[in-house]
């Protein structure tokens, strides 16, 4: 989506040496992806270095339990504040590099680093500053056999040029972990629009996982339209269509269930069976 040149990889598949970026659409997506990254790291006793606005930040992925001492380090941006109120990227990066170096000296197998870099865009000549920061991080991460990094950027702040430049400075685009994945079906949450992306084939063998994923999205939604991206869906059975219609009926009064990018073979089925049999389902973007 953001780029053709970068590799897209779910957050759980990031490996040491990966310098990935996350262009999040809002706080939900940001906390969902970064939360996975932090939680998986702490669970595996990886060192997690988290660059934040201040040191009392609500780190995503903590589930309310404090991590084992020394595993998580929060590097507060606050300390890099200059007397004029701006931030000095050099100071921030120095602090970050210092933490990485310190961790490499420790006995951690893997070091996970993540930072929301959107603040650099507020500096004079923001994009240049951001790319300068990225080069520093790239130099710290890529030669390493132990460091994995995710740079988070608010997608809404990016121009097309900025996207291109960021794509060029990262090897990997990080995506959410799938809600479900096996050799036949993959279900991934989407955040803009809110919904799910379905890939593969969906039938009664996997109705349960669809139900769970739908519930997850419904619970997290705020009554907006729910979109299902079907571009990669090769098959859907009548039972799953019924489940979708049931969800739409339960949500009557709020936004409809919108089916985006429906492949032509699925449209043939919908038209043969009749859309009127499945009220509440709407065809979205083609």
């Amino acid at each position: 989506m953001e780029t053709l040149s970068s590799v897209r990889r779910p957050v759980r598949e990031l490996r040491p040496g990966d310098h990935a970026w996350l262009a999040y659409s809002g706080e939900d997506e940001q906390r969902y992806v970064v939360g996975s990254f932090v939680r998986d790291g702490l669970d595996a006793s990886h060192k997690v270095i988290y660059l934040a606005g201040s040191d009392d930040v609500d780190v995503p992925g903590m589930n309310g339990t404090p991590p084992r001492s020394g595993l998580l380090t929060v590097v507060p941006l606050e300390e890099a504040r200059r007397p004029d109120g701006g931030f000095d990227p050099g100071t921030v990066l120095e602090a970050l590099a210092c933490e990485i170096a310190g961790a490499e000296g420790g006995d951690f197998g893997t070091i996970r680093v993540t930072a929301d870099m959107t603040w650099t865009l507020d500096l004079p000549d923001g994009l240049t500053q951001l790319l300068r920061c990225e080069r520093h991080i790239e130099q710290a991460v890529c030669p390493s056999t132990r460091v994995t990094a995710i740079c988070q950027i608010d997608r809404r702040r990016l121009t097309a040029d900025a996207r291109t430049a960021l794509a060029a400075s990262h090897s990997t685009v990080v995506t959410p972990n799938p809600e479900f994945a096996d050799s036949v079906l993959q279900i991934v949450r989407t955040f803009e629009p809110v919904g799910l992306s379905l890939l593969g084939e969906l039938d009664a063998s996997r109705h349960m996982v669809l139900d769970q994923a739908l519930n997850t999205v419904l619970t997290a939604s705020r009554g907006e339209e729910i979109h299902l991206d079907l571009a990669g869906l090769g098959f859907i059975d009548l039972g799953a269509l019924n489940m979708l219609a049931d969800v739409a009926a339960r949500r009557s009064g709020t936004g409809p269930l919108v089916l985006d990018s429906m492949p032509v073979q699925l449209r043939t089925i919908m038209e043969t069976v009749g859309w009127h049999m499945l009220p509440g389902l709407r065809l979205g973007t083609v």
Partner: protein, 321 residues
């Protein structure tokens, strides 16, 4: 809806006989504010327009060949029109001339089944249906029409058909005999704890070596998946899938050793649209396939799906792999 549902047969020898019965029927609807349809041949459209004069503006004309193209789809579409009209406090009135010519034996039976089921499906809509049958049709077709229509029009008078049978009785009689056995060279698959994905791969491999069009293959895959899912959920093992070709048709059969007890659960009447736990599985299977045959009893249950395929010039070695 105050008007009563009617479903009458109008046998005719010559076009004039048809006009004598049809014109008062159509005029009554035009005057009464009904939604009036004439589904006949193009030649009959001309005659009707000529006789109706300015009144013809109150009639929608459709061609029989297209209107009566597929039994379940016909029933779905026409029933939707009847329900919409009823909801608008109107009545749907159809002069229909089902396209009986050039139908195979199994197709004839399916259309006769539709005529019978019509009495159950349209009962609540108050629709007025007048079905014209030429006496030049095979004798069995006209005779069957007297069993599937409660009344016959003779001139302007509607007479009860003494041979009329209740829809579900008629339907059960159509299915009373056994299906012919599958051919010896059918391609068989015993379904164990299958991932349905592999069953579709199997059906696809077979169908791709026939001229079955791609969109019909997709319809077949949805239908097979539904029938196998039903067998796995409600049937008894062993479950077997069989595929073979007949002239002009691909046939796919699913058998299991279970026994259905609900005889109205054959998906012959469109269910109400979902919105609760609407189960429309077998009904949708009928929409997706050309013909669906079901037999269930102590010996087990068979669901046979048939899809028309373009003529096959030479037998294909579909079972040779």
């Amino acid at each position: 809806m105050s008007q009563a549902f009617s479903h009458r047969v109008l046998p005719y020898d010559r076009a004039d006989d048809l006009l004598d019965g049809a014109l008062p029927f159509l005029r009554e609807g035009i005057e009464g504010g009904d939604r009036v349809l004439a589904v006949t041949t193009l030649a009959m459209h001309m005659l009707l327009r000529d006789k109706l004069g300015a009144d013809a503006a109150g009639v929608e004309f459709f061609e029989s060949d297209k209107w009566y193209a597929h039994p379940a789809r016909y029933l779905a579409d026409t029933l939707a029109l009847a329900e919409t009209a009823a909801w608008q406090k109107r009545r749907l009135r159809v002069l229909g001339e089902p396209a009986w010519a050039r139908r195979g034996e199994l197709e004839l039976l399916e259309w006769q089944r539709v005529e019978a089921i019509t009495n159950a499906a349209f009962a609540e809509t108050g629709a007025a249906l007048l079905c014209a049958y030429s006496r030049s049709l095979p004798a069995g077709v006209v005779a069957a029409s007297r069993q599937t229509h409660p009344e016959t029009m003779r001139g302007q008078v509607a007479l009860s058909n003494p041979g009329y049978q209740e829809p579900w009785t008629y339907n059960a009689r159509l299915d009373s005999g056994p299906l012919p056995p599958p051919p010896d060279d059918s391609l068989d698959l015993d379904i164990q704890v299958a991932d349905l994905y592999w069953i579709r791969a199997y059906v696809t491999d077979f169908a791709r070596r026939t001229p079955l069009p791609e969109d019909d293959l997709q319809r077949l895959l949805v239908a097979v998946t539904e029938v196998v899912t039903n067998a796995l959920r409600h049937g008894q093992p062993p479950i077997t899938l069989r595929l073979w070709l007949e002239p002009g048709e691909l046939v796919c059969e699913v058998t299991d050793h279970g026994h259905w007890t609900d005889r109205t659960g054959f998906g012959l009447i469109p269910p109400k649209p979902a919105g609760g736990a609407g189960r429309f599985g077998l009904w949708a299977v009928r929409l997706l396939c050309s013909i669906v045959q079901i037999r269930t009893g102590r010996d087990g249950t068979t669901v046979r799906l048939r899809l028309q395929i373009p003529a096959v010039p030479v037998p294909l070695p579909v079972n040779s792999a």
